[in-house]
């Protein structure tokens, strides 16, 4: 079953700007899906329409088979949203923010209290439950929004740049939490500018640019399209000039550091042999290829 189906979805704002030009998208139940695109591509507009924050111009949206136009309440009940920007009451306590959201979803008080406790503990916020939200750190505020989005046990969780502006430690802990939530059966849609985040977490991907979907496939299939690897080689002795080596793109990036662009069909042994012939010893090498970034840049710059 599809968790989400979009058909010919368009959005033109009152100022005449067309953010979506007719996108089609299917996301399977249980998927961890990356929706990527540059700033202004239409990601947040699409998410806004799916989560009822933005009125669409035309097209259809179905969430777990429910039509957003005719069964809006059912669609809303299925979705949990973690928006890009902080959007909770800065004067309210952490616990009340989550508890009130449960109330808005019609969850009876005793169940809401239990669910709030569970979500706050899952997000390591239980000790801060009585703290006024404006006093929290940036990472904690992000986690409050995730706890709030999870309190009604949504089947589809939409994360709009959930790790923007947080340090690497918190980002990694958020990744673990997201992976855990997905393993429990929740379908997740993730938008992010950290492409390594999408690469490591998501199974399927769509790239949106100028209001159109320019690529949609499985993450592994997409990454398989990358046909060049970028290596950095640490040398034993310094060299002053690059030797002439046939078939490989080399660059001297330091007296003891070389970079090499190697095609998929080429072997590293060949490179090492030729380097050896020029009396260059390699101490170590690192693969620095950012595969998704390479593809992403190619797709959005076309």
């Amino acid at each position: 079953m599809n968790a989400l189906s979009l058909r010919n979805l368009t959005k033109t704002y009152r100022n005449g700007f067309t953010a979506l030009r007719g996108i089609d998208l299917d996301i399977q139940q249980g998927d961890f899906f990356a929706l990527l695109g540059p700033n202004g591509a239409g990601k947040s507009t699409a998410i806004g329409i799916i989560s009822s924050l933005v009125n669409k111009t035309s097209g259809s949206v179905h969430v777990f088979g429910h039509d957003i136009d005719t069964h809006s309440a059912k669609v809303k009940s299925c979705i949990g949203l973690v928006p890009q920007e902080m959007n909770f009451n800065q004067f309210e306590t952490v616990q009340n923010i989550v508890l009130n959201q449960a109330g808005y979803y019609g969850i009876p008080r005793h169940l809401a209290i239990a669910s709030t406790e569970k979500c706050l503990k899952q997000m390591f916020l239980w000790d801060q439950r009585d703290m006024v939200s404006r006093r929290l750190s940036g990472g904690m505020k992000r986690r409050v929004m995730i706890a709030r989005a999870l309190v009604h046990s949504p089947q589809l969780l939409i994360l709009d740049e959930p790790t923007a502006g947080v340090d690497i430690e918190i980002r990694r802990s958020l990744w673990e939490m997201m992976a855990q939530v997905n393993q429990q059966g929740t379908t997740i849609i993730l938008t992010t500018h950290y492409l390594e985040e999408a690469e490591s977490l998501c199974r399927n991907i769509a790239i949106i640019n100028n209001g159109l979907i320019v690529e949609q496939s499985g993450m592994s299939e997409l990454l398989a399209q990358v046909n060049k690897d970028y290596f950095v080689l640490d040398l034993a002795q310094p060299i002053s000039a690059l030797p002439k080596i046939e078939g490989y793109e080399l660059e001297l990036i330091g007296s003891k550091t070389l970079s090499a662009l190697v095609n998929k069909e080429q072997s590293l042994n060949g490179l090492f042999q030729q380097l050896s012939m020029h009396h260059i010893d390699v101490l170590s090498l690192k693969n620095k290829t950012n595969r998704l970034e390479q593809l992403f840049m190619g797709l959005v710059s076309e």
Partner: protein
């Protein structure tokens, strides 16, 4: 059931909000109205003599009580809903499966609660200066609730269209306060020249103040039936208008 839980959550949240900041929400009206009673009612009023057979103090008490109900019901909804827009936590409501009428009812009930609570406190304050023997409980309570409802709705509409904090203070300062003062709190419109009497009839607050005054002390310049018709009509209009705005997402979506 879901809508009832959402409604209860909204109302409790609203009441908790204005109780938590009671020095800003409940106290000012008490201080202001106590000054009105002392200066206009007690010091100056004693020199005025009676109006329509009642003392000046007794004459102004209903209007002053209702003025505090109007300003507090309005202020509660306009401030609370606009703050929700400003902090973007209006999105908490928009993503949730709450019917638009529940959102409206929740905010209006929050406004009614504050308006009525302040009205009760001001009434208690007035008892320090005069005695009140209610003339007609039914009229008094009905117009009391209807007025709080009407101005809660008006505050909601103001908040929907507001784009800045200036926008939520402009209407209360330049429309609501003048209309309230010109609505016959401190005088009977029969004391005005004919032209001003006719102009006063275009002020909706005049009808509420007169109906409330009739309920409390049995004195009015306006027929009670007309007063109820006008107040009820405005309430119905603003209810429908608010629901249309919510349905279209004006001021809160896009």
């Amino acid at each position: 059931m879901n809508n009832f839980i959402a409604f209860r959550t909204l109302v409790i949240e609203e009441i908790r909000r204005f109780i938590r900041i009671w020095p800003q929400t409940l106290l000012p009206s008490v201080v202001t109205t106590a000054l009105y009673f002392m200066i206009f009612g007690h010091l100056i009023g004693e020199r005025f003599g009676d109006i329509d057979g009642v003392s000046y103090m007794d004459y102004i008490v209903p209007g002053v009580i209702l003025m505090s109900v109007i300003s507090n019901a309005y202020a509660n909804v306009v401030a609370s809903f606009y703050l929700r827009k400003f902090q973007r936590n209006i999105e908490e409501l928009l993503v949730a499966p709450i019917a638009n009428w529940v959102i409206l009812l929740g905010y209006v009930c929050g406004g009614i609660a504050r308006g009525m609570l302040v009205g009760i406190i001001v009434t208690a304050t007035s008892l320090l200066f005069t005695d009140i023997n209610v003339h007609h409980w039914g009229v008094t309570l009905t117009i009391y609730i209807l007025t709080a409802t009407l101005f809660s709705l008006a505050g909601f509409v103001n908040a929907i269209f507001a784009n800045s904090f200036d926008d939520i203070s402009t209407i209360p300062n330049f429309v609501l306060t003048p209309l309230t003062y010109l609505g016959g709190i401190f005088y009977s419109i029969t004391m005005l020249p004919e032209l001003w009497q006719q102009l006063s009839l275009a002020n909706p607050i005049l009808y509420m103040i007169n109906a409330f005054r009739y309920g409390l002390i049995g004195v009015t310049d306006i027929k009670i039936e007309i007063a109820f018709l006008m107040t009820g009509g405005f309430t119905l209009f603003l209810t429908i208008f608010s629901l249309v705005l919510l349905h279209k997402g004006i001021g809160i979506k896009d």
